[in-house]
C-alpha cells in the first residue's frame, strides 16, 4: 500500500511538508532493507559455496544417495527394535556386535536387570540433573556479585561478569577433553564441562533477574540495619526465586541435550553408544536409542513446562539458550 499512489485530499502546506518527510524516510528505509537483504544474500551464497567446497562429500553428489543411506537403518523386522531396547536375545544372533543385545544387561539382582540403553539413558539424565544443580549453585553464588544493585563496586562487578562470560564461551569440548585426559573415559568429563558452562549461562540470566528486582524490600531491610547477607536472603531471594527456578528448569532441558552430545565425544551415557551404533550401522540398536532419547527429551520438556507454569505462571515461557 503505497500512499503516493492513493489520491488523497489536497493537503495544506505543512501537511505536504510532513508527507514529504515521510516519503523520504520511507525511501531511505526501503534502500536500507534492499541493501541489507542483498548483503545477506551474498553472505549466504558465499557461505554455502564455501561450506560445500570444504565438505568432504559434495552436496549434489551426495543428495541422490541420502536415502540409500537411510535404508541401512531399516531393521530386519519391527520386533528387533523392541528386542534391542529391552536386551532380549535376537533370533538373528550370529555372534556379531550387531545382534548382541543381551550382552549389555545391567544386573541389579540375579534375575532382575536394567536394559543397557535404559541404564545409559539414566546416566545421561543424571549427568544433566547433577550438573544443572552444581551450575545453579555456582551461578547463584556469583550472580549477586555481578548485579549492579547488590554490588555497587565496579571493581568487583566487572571481573565477576567477565569471568562468567569466559565460563560461558569456553568450548565445552575442550573442558571435556582435558578432564578426559586426566580421569579417562566416564561421566565426570561431561559433568565438569556442562557444569562450568551452566555456571556461566545461569549466572548471566540470574544477575539480570536480580537487577530487575523490586528494591523496596531491600530498602526496608537497609533501613532497619540489615547487613549484606540479610538483605540478600530476606529482601532479594524470595523475589527472584521463582524466576531462578524457571531458568534452572529451562537449563535442565538444554543440559539433557548437551549431555547426550558430550557423551558422544567421550563423556559416557547414551551419546557414546549412539555414535558407535550409527557409525557401525546397527539398525535396530540405533532406532531403539533414538526412540528412547526422543521419549526422554519430550518427557523432560513436558515436566519442566508443567513445573514452570506452576512456579511462575505464563510469563516463564521466554526462551533462552
Amino acid at each position: 500500500m503505497n500512499s503516493s499512489k492513493m489520491s488523497g485530499p489536497v493537503l495544506s502546506q505543512s501537511g505536504q511538508l510532513v508527507e514529504q518527510h515521510w516519503r523520504e524516510l520511507n525511501g531511505r528505509r526501503r534502500t536500507y532493507t534492499v541493501l541489507g537483504s542483498l548483503a545477506l544474500l551474498i553472505a549466504l551464497s558465499g557461505s554455502l559455496w564455501y561450506a560445500n567446497d570444504a565438505n568432504s562429500g559434495k552436496f549434489f553428489d551426495r543428495l541422490p544417495h541420502l536415502f540409500d543411506f537411510l535404508q541401512v537403518f531399516v531393521p530386519r523386522d519391527g520386533m528387533e527394535i523392541f528386542r534391542a531396547m529391552f536386551d532380549l536375545p535376537s533370533p538373528y544372533d550370529d555372534g556379531s556386535l550387531k545382534y548382541d543385545y543381551p550382552d549389555g544387561r545391567h544386573y541389579l539382582t540375579d534375575s532382575f536387570y536394567i536394559p543397557e540403553y535404559f541404564y545409559r539413558m539414566l546416566e545421561t539424565v543424571n549427568i544433566a540433573i547433577f550438573s544443572t544443580i552444581i551450575g545453579a549453585l555456582g551461578g547463584f553464588c556469583l550472580c549477586f556479585l555481578a548485579a549492579r544493585n547488590m554490588t555497587p563496586s565496579r571493581w568487583l562487578r566487572w571481573p565477576v561478569r567477565r569471568f562468567m562470560e569466559v565460563l560461558r564461551a569456553f568450548p565445552e569440548v575442550v573442558i571435556a577433553g582435558f578432564i578426559l585426559a586426566i580421569f579417562s573415559i566416564g561421566p565426570i568429563p561431561g559433568i565438569v564441562a556442562i557444569s562450568v558452562h551452566t555456571i556461566g549461562a545461569l549466572g548471566k540470566l540470574f544477575f539480570e533477574v536480580v537487577e530487575n528486582a523490586d528494591m523496596k524490600p531491600d530498602e526496608g531491610l537497609r533501613a532497619v540495619g540489615g547487613n549484606w547477607l540479610e538483605r540478600l536472603w530476606f529482601g532479594m531471594v524470595p523475589q527472584v526465586m521463582p524466576n531462578f527456578s524457571s531458568y534452572i528448569l529451562l537449563r535442565l532441558e538444554i543440559n539433557v541435550r548437551a549431555s547426550t552430545i558430550i557423551g558422544a565425544v567421550g563423556g559416557g551415557g547414551i551419546g557414546e553408544a549412539l555414535r558407535l551404533s550409527i557409525s557401525r550401522g546397527d539398525a535396530a540398536k540405533t532406532i531403539a536409542m533414538i526412540i528412547l532419547l526422543l521419549l526422554t527429551v519430550i518427557a523432560v520438556d513436558q515436566f519442566s513446562a508443567w513445573l514452570r507454569k506452576k512456579l511462575v505462571g505464563e510469563q516463564s515461557f521466554q526462551m533462552s539458550a
Binding site: 554455502l48 561450506a51 544417495h65 577433553g177 586426566i182 552430545i261 550409527i278
Partner: protein, 509 residues
C-alpha cells in the same frame, strides 16, 4: 538487624497473625529440599563412582598438561661414554632448530684418548650433531644395545683400530629456570634446586646410580641403584641413569609461533626479518621474501595457522547458514502453525508436531546422521543446525504469533485488504523485531554449539580441537584455538547484542 522486643512482637503478631505463622508446608519446604539435594548428591557420588575416579586419577599429568598450554619443553639428552666423553643430542621434534647451541648449557671440553668404534651405525636421530662436539663421539655402550646385530658385528671387526686423541665434552652444566641447575660429568650428577643440592654417583660399568645422602622429596629413585627422577616444578624435570641424563627444560611461551625450524626466517630477530623482507636479496628466487615469509607463517607445520583459521571460518559459516536457513523456513511455517492466523486445526497440529519432532530429535542425532550422509564437513553441521533450529524457532515464532495484538489486523482487514496484505501490514511489523532478535540470539548460541557438534564429525574447529587433544601433546595448539574461539564468540556477542538492542530498543549491561 534491629530486633523487636517481646511485647512489641506480640502486639504485631496479634494484629497480623496470618503473616507471622506460616503453613507447615512452607516451614518444611527449605529443609526438605536441602535434604533431598544431599541425598541426591550422595546417590550421584555412588552412581558415577566419583570417589573411585578421583582417587585413581593421575594429577601430576594434569599439571604437566596444563603447563603445556602456555609453555614448551626442550629435551636435551646427555649420553655419557665409558671413557668420560659426553655427547648432547636433541629429540627430532624439539622446537630448537638445526643448530642447537643454547646458552643455558655450558660445557667444558678436554682432550681425551678414545678407543674409536667404527661408526657403521647411522647418526643419532637428532636434527644434527651438537655444535660443540665435532668429533664422531658415538656413545658405544648405548648404541651396542640398540643396534641391529649385523651392525654390531661390523663394529666388532673394526674395533682393533688405534686409539685416537680428540676433544670431547667432559663436563656439562645445565640451567633450568632461575633456581635449578644440573651439573653432569662422567662420574656424578649434581642436582641443585633452590638451596638444596643432591649428588648422585654414576657407575657406568655397573650401570648403577647411587645417592650420597638421603634424597629430598623432589628426587625420586624407585629402586636402589636404578634410575633417579628429579623434579624442578615448572622448570622441568630430569631422568638420571648411569650412562645417560635426559633433561626436560620448560620455557614459558609458544615455540616457533611464526616460523618453524625449517623456515629460512627461523631464529631471526624481528629487525632482521624486517630488513630481509624489505631490502634483503631473494631467498627463494621464485617469490619475494614477503610472500615467502607469509607462506611460511600460514603453513607453519606445528601451528597450521591457515588450517586453523579456515576451520574456524567453517564453524562460523555453519552457525550463520544454519540459523539463516532455519529462520527463513520457520517464518512461513510459523504462520501455518499459529491458531489465530491459519484457521485449520489439522494444519496447525501437523506443523506444531513437526516442530516438536525436529526439536526433540537432538542436534547430536541430526549431526551424526548428516555426517554419515554428506561426509564430515560443514554441510553436516549446517544441516544439523538447520533442522534443530527450524523446530525451535518455529515453535517460538508460532507462540509469538498466537500472542499477537489483534487490533492492527482488524484495522487492516476493515479497509478491505487481501489476506496476504493483512499479514504484511497487520502482523509482520508487530512481530518482526521479536523474530529478528530471537534469530540473532540463536545465531550467537549456535556459534558456540557449532564447535561441539563439530567434534562428533560435523567439521569445523571442533573436529580440529578434538584431534589436537587426542594426542595429549598439542595442548599449546588447543590453547591457541580456544583463544581464537573466545575472541570470535565475544565479537559476535557484541555484534548481536548491538543489533538486538537497536531492534527491540532495550540496552542490556
Amino acid at each position: 538487624m534491629t530486633l523487636l522486643s517481646t511485647p512489641e512482637y506480640e502486639r504485631l503478631a496479634a494484629r497480623h497473625e496470618h503473616l507471622l505463622t506460616q503453613s507447615t508446608w512452607k516451614t518444611c519446604r527449605a529443609p526438605l529440599l536441602a535434604t533431598g539435594l544431599i541425598v541426591y548428591f550422595m546417590f550421584c557420588w555412588w552412581f558415577f563412582s566419583i570417589g573411585k575416579v578421583l582417587g585413581s586419577a593421575n594429577y601430576s599429568i594434569a599439571g604437566n598438561y596444563l603447563a603445556d598450554w602456555v609453555s614448551y619443553e626442550i629435551r636435551p639428552e646427555l649420553n655419557i661414554d665409558r671413557d668420560g666423553a659426553i655427547t648432547i643430542t636433541y629429540s627430532r621434534f624439539d622446537p630448537i632448530g638445526p643448530n642447537p647451541n643454547p646458552d643455558w648449557i655450558k660445557s667444558e671440553t678436554a682432550t681425551v684418548t678414545r678407543q674409536p668404534v667404527a661408526s657403521a651405525q647411522p647418526e643419532a636421530p637428532s636434527a644434527s650433531a651438537p655444535a660443540p662436539a665435532p668429533a664422531p663421539a658415538v656413545p658405544a655402550f648405548n648404541f651396542m644395545a640398540n643396534a641391529p646385530k649385523a651392525e654390531a658385528a661390523t663394529s666388532i671387526t673394526t674395533i682393533a683400530k688405534a686409539p685416537v686423541t680428540e676433544t670431547a665434552i667432559v663436563k656439562s652444566s645445565i640451567d633450568l629456570g632461575r633456581s635449578a641447575k644440573i651439573v653432569v660429568d662422567h662420574q656424578s650428577v649434581i642436582l641443585t634446586r633452590g638451596s638444596e643440592t643432591v649428588e648422585l654417583k654414576l657407575d657406568n660399568a655397573a650401570g648403577t646410580v647411587t645417592a650420597q645422602a638421603p634424597l629430598p622429596t623432589w628426587v625420586e629413585q624407585r629402586m636402589a641403584g636404578g634410575r633417579a627422577y628429579a623434579y624442578f616444578g615448572f622448570a622441568g624435570w630430569a631422568e638420571v641413569s648411569a650412562d645417560r641424563v635426559r633433561i626436560h627444560n620448560r620455557f614459558f611461551g609458544w615455540a616457533n609461533f611464526f616460523f618453524d625450524i625449517n623456515s629460512a626466517f627461523f631464529g631471526k630477530s624481528p629487525g632482521e626479518i624486517l630488513t630481509l623482507v624489505t631490502s634483503g636479496p631473494r631467498i627463494d628466487s621464485s617469490q619475494s621474501n614477503l610472500s615467502l615469509a607469509w607462506n611460511d607463517i600460514l603453513y607453519n607445520p606445528s601451528w597450521q595457522h591457515l588450517d586453523v583459521w579456515s576451520k574456524l571460518l567453517q564453524t562460523l559459516v555453519m552457525a550463520f547458514v544454519g540459523t539463516v536457513l532455519a529462520t527463513l523456513l520457520s517464518f512461513p511455517l510459523a504462520f501455518i502453525a499459529a491458531r489465530n492466523i491459519t484457521r485449520n486445526r489439522v494444519l496447525n497440529q501437523f506443523t506444531k508436531r513437526l516442530f516438536d519432532f525436529l526439536r526433540s530429535v537432538d542436534m547430536l542425532i541430526w549431526a551424526l546422521f548428516f555426517t554419515r550422509a554428506f561426509g564430515p564437513g560443514p554441510l553436516a553441521g549446517i544441516s544439523a543446525i538447520f533442522f534443530t533450529d527450524t523446530g525451535t524457532l518455529g515453535k517460538l515464532y508460532a507462540e509469538a504469533l498466537e500472542n499477537l495484538d489483534d487490533k492492527q489486523r482488524e484495522g487492516v482487514k476493515s479497509v478491505g485488504a487481501s489476506p496476504l496484505v493483512i499479514q504484511r501490514y497487520g502482523v509482520v511489523p508487530q512481530v518482526l523485531p521479536i523474530f529478528a532478535s530471537q534469530a540473532l540470539y540463536f545465531w550467537e548460541s549456535n556459534t558456540r554449539s557449532a564447535t561441539i557438534i563439530g567434534a562428533v564429525g560435523a567439521g569445523g574447529i571442533g573436529l580440529k580441537l578434538w584431534e589436537a587433544m587426542r594426542t595429549n601433546s598439542n595442548w599449546e595448539n588447543v590453547c591457541y584455538m580456544v583463544l581464537l574461539i573466545l575472541l570470535v564468540v565475544f565479537i559476535f556477542d557484541a555484534i548481536s547484542n548491538a543489533l538486538r538492542s537497536r531492534l527491540i530498543g532495550t540496552v542490556r549491561h
